[in-house]
């Protein structure tokens, strides 16, 4: 018992240090967002505010466009996720459980597509969207991401592990291939869906690159894009509300992850991608 305790201390210390290192900016952000204005620019460093100051939050939520940015972000990530699942799940099912000529080549292409960073295709997509005139719309934020090689890959790995008998039984029960996808395969892939949803939502909620390129209309700004406007407006001297806004923008993801943590890890493990 003593032996095992001692052997666990070193890894524990390292983990705590690592966690502290990663968490420090967040803790600092949280701390600043709760400090009164005069306390933020003192020369001494104190992690805890002398008094909890909620006015930063009130200011961020009422005097700025943060609620609109949050709403835009929500619409965008929901739209992206909806279309991603709509397309990725049937594709993955076909790649995993159907036999057709060129299946392996097709799957090879999906894996190859995993290696192409979005930034490579961003300029052609931008030019194309400019041609058809949908820049500066919500569609410009959603459409580039509705096909997802990562999603297809993740779901395919999951479906490939499901027994073929299950799908044969469903065919015998009179389900069409489409019905099998949505009534049998998709509900069973819930852990994989959760993992994928977290990846997708996190990536697109936090994305600054594409919203910065594709939209200039402030009423379409997503949270990270919005915070930029915010900083410009306030010229950096209103740090308290800025930090409060950052907390508000970060919080939904952290909360969602904590709630779905177990499903998330299950999905990754089941998807053969042990994290």
């Amino acid at each position: 018992m003593k032996q095992s305790l001692r052997s666990r201390i070193l890894p524990l210390i390292l983990l705590i240090l690592g966690a502290a290192f990663i968490l420090l900016p967040f803790v600092w952000m949280l701390s600043l967002s709760l400090k009164p204005q005069d306390e933020i620019f003192t020369t001494t460093i104190s992690l805890l505010p002398s008094a909890i100051e909620w006015s930063n939050y009130t200011f961020a939520l009422t005097e700025t466009d943060i609620p609109l940015f949050l709403w835009n972000g929500l619409v965008m990530v929901t739209g992206i996720l909806f279309f991603q699942i709509l397309f990725a799940v049937p594709c993955a099912y076909a790649l995993a459980q159907r036999r057709f000529a060129g299946r392996d080549v097709l799957f090879g292409l999906v894996v190859a597509a995993l290696l192409v960073p979005f930034h490579v295709t961003a300029i052609p997509i931008f030019l194309g969207f400019a041609q058809i005139g949908i820049l500066n719309t919500m569609w410009a934020l959603i459409l580039p991401f509705i096909q997802t090689a990562f999603g297809i890959f993740l779901f395919r790995q999951f479906f490939a592990q499901l027994p073929t008998d299950l799908f044969d039984a469903a065919r015998g029960d009179g389900l069409s291939e489409t019905a099998i996808v949505w009534r049998i395969a998709f509900p069973l892939a819930l852990p994989a869906s959760t993992a994928f949803a977290i990846f997708s939502v996190t990536a697109h909620w936090n994305d600054l690159f594409w919203p910065l390129i594709a939209t200039t209309d402030p009423s379409l700004a997503t949270p990270p894009r919005g915070i930029l406007y915010f900083r410009d407006q306030e010229s950096g001297d209103n740090v308290g509300p800025l930090m409060a806004a950052a907390v508000i923008v970060t919080a939904p993801l952290v909360v969602a992850f904590l709630l779905a943590q177990r499903k998330f890890i299950q999905g990754l493990a089941a998807g053969g991608l042990k994290g």
Binding site: D165, A169, R171, G172, D173, I184
Partner: protein, 356 residues
């Protein structure tokens, strides 16, 4: 009896590997047919072709007299029970059993949540479905489990749910792919009689794939023995046991492995190999066959004797339970009735009828 299903000269090959080679099988209305064979003999492929889950490379599949080669499993209305049960893990027992009916009786729009529920007639259709589900569940003793998920069930219960799902569809034919092989020995015997009872109750034709000759003998009225992708012999169990068409069938059928005696092993019938079942061979004062005792297994009702023949051939015989086993190594005389001998051609292995 009318023929319900017929495979006619069916060949199936995967790439260059021939899995089924010119297989013809006839299933009579209301019969219980067992496809018996070792793993890899093509029995499951035959079943999948009957079900419509696989297509023959050449040959015909006739259901009720018409060619159904191009029809799907659903269009054929045959029910298949899988070795792995293949229950939908995310649905309850009731939903599992109801699914085939839901697909048949409710249009796609009616199946939608919310929208379907408010359409007139959906409630009535759902009620009909649930009545049928309850009926099937009662028949199989599943009434208490209707709201459980498959993960909470034991192997035997899962098997019953799989049977229930097949049953509610009122199919023209039941196809069962090694349904008992995932159960423990005791449960297997019980499910065996339950499946037989189900067969009698429904009166439908059952096709049952198994590698266990005991199951086949106990349940079937027709056994099709498959070896290496071909039908080696088909017929009633008694026919297969008493008149095996070749050595391989004789070796496969029968609880105790049959003895094969080459010429010179003690029973000389010309050039033929002699097949003699252990249960037809017993110690006897006046027996014609002399063999040396190697070991004896006492099983209560009987004693299984392992012996060596004159030329070293392994011979097994069965003595009654009260037989006084002599010391190992002693010579024993064994007797048999001449009509119990099976003769096989030494080269081809085919059965030879004795010139009486």
């Amino acid at each position: 009896m009318a023929t319900i299903l017929e495979l006619r000269n069916v060949t199936r090959s995967f790439d260059s590997k021939v899995v089924l080679d010119d297989v013809s099988i006839t299933i009579e209305q209301g019969s219980f047919t067992a496809l018996l064979g070792a793993s890899g003999c093509g029995k499951s492929t035959s079943l999948r072709i009957m079900a419509g889950l696989d297509r023959p490379t050449s040959g015909e599949v006739l259901l009720g007299g018409s060619d159904v080669s191009e029809q799907t499993a659903y269009e054929r209305n045959v029910a298949m029970v899988f070795q792995s049960y293949a229950l939908y893990p995310h649905l309850t027992v009731a939903q599992n059993i109801a699914l085939p009916l839901t697909m048949r009786h409710l249009t796609p729009v009616r199946r939608l949540p919310l929208v379907g529920a408010v359409m007139p007639g959906t409630g009535k259709a759902r009620q009909t479905i649930m009545d049928k589900v309850h009926e099937a569940a009662e028949m199989l003793g599943l009434d208490q489990l209707l709201n459980s998920k498959p993960g909470q069930l034991s192997g035997g219960q899962k098997q019953r749910v799989a049977l229930g799902r097949a049953l509610v569809r009122d199919p023209s034919l039941f196809l069962l792919d090694e349904p008992l092989s995932n159960l423990d020995a005791r449960l297997r015997v019980r499910m065996r009689s339950e499946i037989s009872a189900l067969h009698r109750k429904t009166g439908k034709a059952f096709v049952y794939v198994t590698h266990d000759q005991t199951e086949a003998m106990a349940m079937a009225d027709q056994i099709v023995v498959m070896i290496g992708g071909k039908v080696a012999q088909s017929g009633p169990p008694r026919e297969l046991y008493e008149h095996p068409a070749n050595r391989a069938v004789a070796a496969f059928v029968g609880h105790n492995a049959i003895n094969f005696l080459e010429p010179g092993d003690g029973i000389d019938m010309g050039e033929s190999v002699v097949g003699l079942r252990p249960e037809d061979l017993a110690p006897s004062e006046s027996g014609a066959l002399l063999a040396r005792l190697e070991s004896a297994e006492y099983l209560g009702s009987e004693i299984v004797l392992s012996l060596r023949g004159a030329k070293g051939a392994e011979i097994r015989a069965i003595a009654p339970g009260d037989f006084a086993v002599p010391a190992t190594g002693s010579e024993i005389r064994l007797g048999y009735a001449p009509e119990k001998l099976h003769l096989f051609d030494a080269d081809t292995g085919f059965r030879r009828e004795r010139a009486a």
